[in-house]
């Protein structure tokens, strides 16, 4: 279990003068939480993720992981960068998933087993022998996610990990993240531009110019319509429909999370998609 504490973090990029991006920012991510980090471009989402991982060092304040001060080489978390091309290291899909495991000194059998399992979970196993650069953007993102899962880290720091993945596949991968959190008590922090991706998280943290402007459960967040609008974001239409249904007493007592779920309840769901 991983708990991350940001204690009075002050951070500024050395090439930018003036006010720091974060000024004495404190935030605690509890063990097993799934945090959706949202906010406009430039709000500091990616920077905050990198500070948590120790990739960027704050000029003041402290990052603690399970109470101990963070040092840069601490492998407590697997990190998924926003651009998958920057993170792919091997020409062949399966080898890319195995790379970090090999670096960690695991034996070949374990590496093969874990790589296969991770690729199956993200739906890429049939591409295992293909060249990584022949994968589409969405598939490359799944590949990087598979690499992170294969590490079995107790914490996942995910920077807009599903931006190139299409709608239904995205729902599948979000469900997968939910499962991993359930099964392994994994702590997850995920940035996104799309609020559909925070419907299932346990906590939403909204940043604006380096300050936390919202911190609470998604259901509460989605009621903050003017705040959401001010951040340049939009309440997902599905959430609006769900709220309207509750208000109109249609299928009351059921929390509707997705179109598939609603159609399933009405008995008209289409067969499951291939991906």
């Amino acid at each position: 279990m991983v708990k991350i504490e940001l204690d009075s973090i002050t951070f500024r990029y050395s090439d930018r003068r003036g006010d720091p991006l974060f000024a004495e920012l404190s935030l605690t991510i509890g063990a097993g939480e799934w945090v959706g980090l949202v906010g406009p471009s430039g709000a500091g989402k990616t920077t905050l993720l990198k500070v948590m991982k120790g990739l960027l060092r704050p000029e003041a304040g402290e990052v603690r992981v399970n109470g101990a001060s963070l040092h840069a080489l601490n492998p407590f978390a697997a990190f998924v960068f926003a651009n998958p091309e920057n993170q792919i290291v091997s020409p062949v899909v399966a080898e890319d998933v195995g790379f970090a495991l090999e670096q960690a000194g695991l034996d070949l059998d374990t590496i093969r087993r874990r790589a296969e399992q991770a690729l199956r979970r993200v739906g890429l196993w049939e591409r295992a022998r293909d060249l990584s650069h022949n994968l589409s953007g969405g598939e490359q993102q799944r590949l990087i996610l598979a690499g992170a899962l294969a590490l079995r880290a107790k914490c996942l720091l995910l920077d807009d990990p599903l931006s190139m993945v299409d709608g239904h596949a995205r729902n599948g991968l979000l469900a997968l993240l939910g499962e991993i959190r359930e099964e392994e008590g994994c702590t997850m922090v995920q940035t996104t531009h799309i609020l559909e991706e925070v419907v299932s998280v346990s906590r939403v943290v909204a940043l604006e110019r380096g300050k936390v402007v919202f911190d609470g459960p998604p259901a509460t967040f989605f009621r903050e319509v003017s705040l959401i609008d001010g951040l340049g974001l939009e309440v997902p239409p599905m959430v609006r429909l769900s709220e309207e249904m509750a208000r109109a007493n249609v299928m009351s007592g059921t929390e509707i999370m997705s179109s598939r779920q609603l159609l399933g309840l009405l008995g008209v769901a289409d067969p499951k998609r291939a991906d």
Binding site: N83, D130, L263
Partner: protein
């Protein structure tokens, strides 16, 4: 205007089993039209875009631009930028210049051979059309702009070339809701009678209301070609499996297909709420 006929393509993987990225795909876009290409990741969307943009010679098939073979022996393999321009995913990652002006100037100078005055005229025009504050940005590094503005600069550098066919690969990726709506509005306003657009997108919400034609790919094959209206009312399970309809439309479409709703397929929450209510009543009383 642009026609790709019976395109099949494989990347030479060097392995025994050939993976066909595209198999027998035919698409066509006429002047004044916007063709929306969609399908799951890995279905061949980007490969098709690269082929019709003249960037990747297809293993089989023919691409014709204004009747001329795009990969014909008699012409250069890359069409002049004035004819076809393609914006890759995250086009701003290809920024190379130290200033926005230099970034925008490059293609006009080296691609089209325009002189400084002609370049200035074009850039001021495109900046005005895109609502891009060029006098403020001109000397700044493009990388210092917000993601929405970076995307705009990247697209402006292509639009300034005034291509006859503009191909956009996932132009909204990484942008937030407000940036998305603005960009789509700008693209929509740009569409003219003598120009065509091909948009690759997996999220259809903002494109369906105005696309002329939708093409759906699945595992490299074309499984659907028709109007947005035909797409949202299709009962073809192969198409439904390959396309991510916006959730509200998906609900409305599914209720109609299962005869639980009589109304038109809608993307409006209030209309679909009513359709769901009737469906529940129908189910409970039936």
């Amino acid at each position: 205007m642009l026609k790709a006929m019976d395109i099949s393509h494989t990347f030479d993987t060097g392995s025994a089993s050939l993976h066909w990225a595209l198999r027998g795909v035919t698409v066509e876009v006429e002047a004044g039209e916007t063709v929306l290409v969609t399908g799951p990741s890995g279905s061949g969307k980007t490969t098709l875009a690269r082929i019709v943009a003249g960037l990747e010679r297809p293993s089989q098939g023919l691409v014709r631009l204004q009747g001329e073979d795009l990969y014909g022996r008699e012409r250069r393999s890359t069409p002049p930028a004035a004819q076809v321009a393609m914006a890759f995913q995250y086009p701003e990652r290809q920024f190379f210049a130290d200033s926005v002006w230099e970034e925008l100037r490059w293609g006009l100078h080296f691609g089209l051979g325009l002189d400084d005055e002609a370049i200035r005229v074009r850039l001021l025009k495109i900046a005005q059309e895109l609502d891009l504050p060029l006098e403020m940005f001109a000397r700044r590094s493009p990388r210092q702009l917000s993601s929405g503005q970076q995307r705009k600069v990247a697209l402006a550098s292509l639009l300034a070339l005034e291509p006859q066919v503009l191909i956009l690969d996932e132009p909204l990726t990484g942008l937030n809701a407000r940036e998305r709506r603005r960009l789509v509005e700008l693209l929509r306003l740009r569409l003219r009678q003598d120009r065509a657009m091909v948009v690759i997108a997996h999220e259809l919400e903002l494109f369906l209301p105005w696309a002329t034609t939708v093409v759906v790919l699945a595992a490299g094959r074309l499984v659907f070609r028709g109007s947005p209206q035909e797409l949202v009312t299709t009962a073809d399970s192969a198409v439904l499996a390959a396309v991510s309809l916006p959730p509200i439309i998906e609900i409305s479409s599914s209720l109609k297909r299962h005869a639980l709703s009589e109304g038109p397929v809608s993307d409006e929450v209030s209309v679909v709420l009513d359709q769901v209510r009737r469906a529940v009543q129908g189910r409970d009383s039936g």
